[in-house]
Symmetry: C2
Subunit: 219 residues, 2 copies
């Protein structure tokens, strides 16, 4: 039976994996929940609770063996085998993602890009960029389930339709277009503008509150 | 007195702004909460509740005047005036952000990049890229409060220290490094790998559950 964990917990699991890989490169063989908690600025009881829920066990004295935890985490995430991902829209953001080297640790392999611009299409680059009309066949042949959308905003909806037709099951959407989805496809949004605007809002609130602080009376 | 709204609500406000701008370019002058709700795939009662909390009023019959709502939203977000932002790390992701045209609607202006690589530093480009040792002076002179970090992972912590020293108040961090922060600086993380790995996890769960579905008996 498959257990479904919530998104926050899975994101935390990915963070644990990242920090454990870093501990490992530093020569550590075992870690304690306190090590992980301090590095991530969270409570060690949360780390232990998460590990309990995921069935990761250690002992109070000896801590956790890093390789054991990593194997368990990879098993849960399904990242023991590489996951093939395609990208649609090989403009600046798209090109940056195609050439990004950091995905491998998380079992992610961007195997191809697709675009409509003949100047961008190039099948001989390290990660080939094909014309968009080859997408459907490629997805079927390679059994691709995941796609990244990094097209201009106006192309977001037509691109979604193409991906849906091709049988894609999950989409990471870098456009600001919120895609209405009644097809069971999982869509995650990476809205850079909104994250930045959000940050600006909270920084400005913080600064205006600083100015309103009641001065301390020293005695 | 300054009201502090939670992050989810502010992100929704940004989404409202995006869809209202799109309605406006389509020639709309007024909208109803149902229009917004349908376009965003949320309930219209949530839209009305948000508008109520933000003090945006309309009337049942005539709906809301788009320009009125936009003015109000910009007032809340502080995006009536442009917010100057700097970027550290002008590699592929950084360059993509420096050239991204979508920020203006949200009142965001990336005014400069900073890097250590002499091949990347170029003060004559549309958005100049300066050597990192000019950052502090630039931040002070231009009164910059917000920075984006798009450096290689190992440079994340030293970059954070430089930004802290310079007096930066808010950081959008594109590196996978989780920055421990006891300095009151607001740090938002954009972790592309983790979003993608998270998506892969949920898609795989979905697919394995599909295979377990009890077949319908047709009669």
């Amino acid at each position: 039976v498959t257990k479904l964990y919530d998104k926050e917990r899975i994101l935390r699991l990915l963070t644990y994996k990242g920090i454990l890989l870093r501990f490992k490169t530093m020569g550590f063989i075992r870690v304690f929940s306190d090590n992980i908690a301090e590095a991530l600025d969270i409570s060690s009881s949360l780390v232990r609770k998460d590990f309990g829920i995921f069935g990761i066990s250690g002992n109070q004295k000896g801590g956790y063996h890093i390789d054991n935890i990593l194997g368990k985490i990879n098993g849960i995430l399904g990242t023991n085998e590489m996951q093939k991902v395609i990208l649609v829209g090989a403009g600046r953001i798209g090109q940056a993602l195609l050439h990004y080297k950091g995905f491998e640790n998380d079992g992610i392999n961007i195997v191809a890009g697709f675009d409509t611009n003949p100047l961008i299409i190039n099948e001989r680059t390290e990660v080939p960029v094909y014309p968009i009309d080859k997408l459907r066949e490629f997805v079927k042949k390679q059994k691709i389930k995941i796609a990244v959308i990094a097209v201009p905003e106006l192309m977001a909806l037509p691109t979604f339709e193409i991906l849906k037709e091709a049988g894609i099951k999950g989409i990471l959407n870098f456009t600001p277009t919120k895609i209405k989805n009644s097809s069971g496809i999982i869509i995650n949004h990476m809205n850079i503008e909104h994250e930045l605007a959000n940050l600006i809002y909270f920084v400005n609130q913080d600064l205006s509150q600083e100015q309103n602080v009641i001065p301390q009376i020293s005695n």
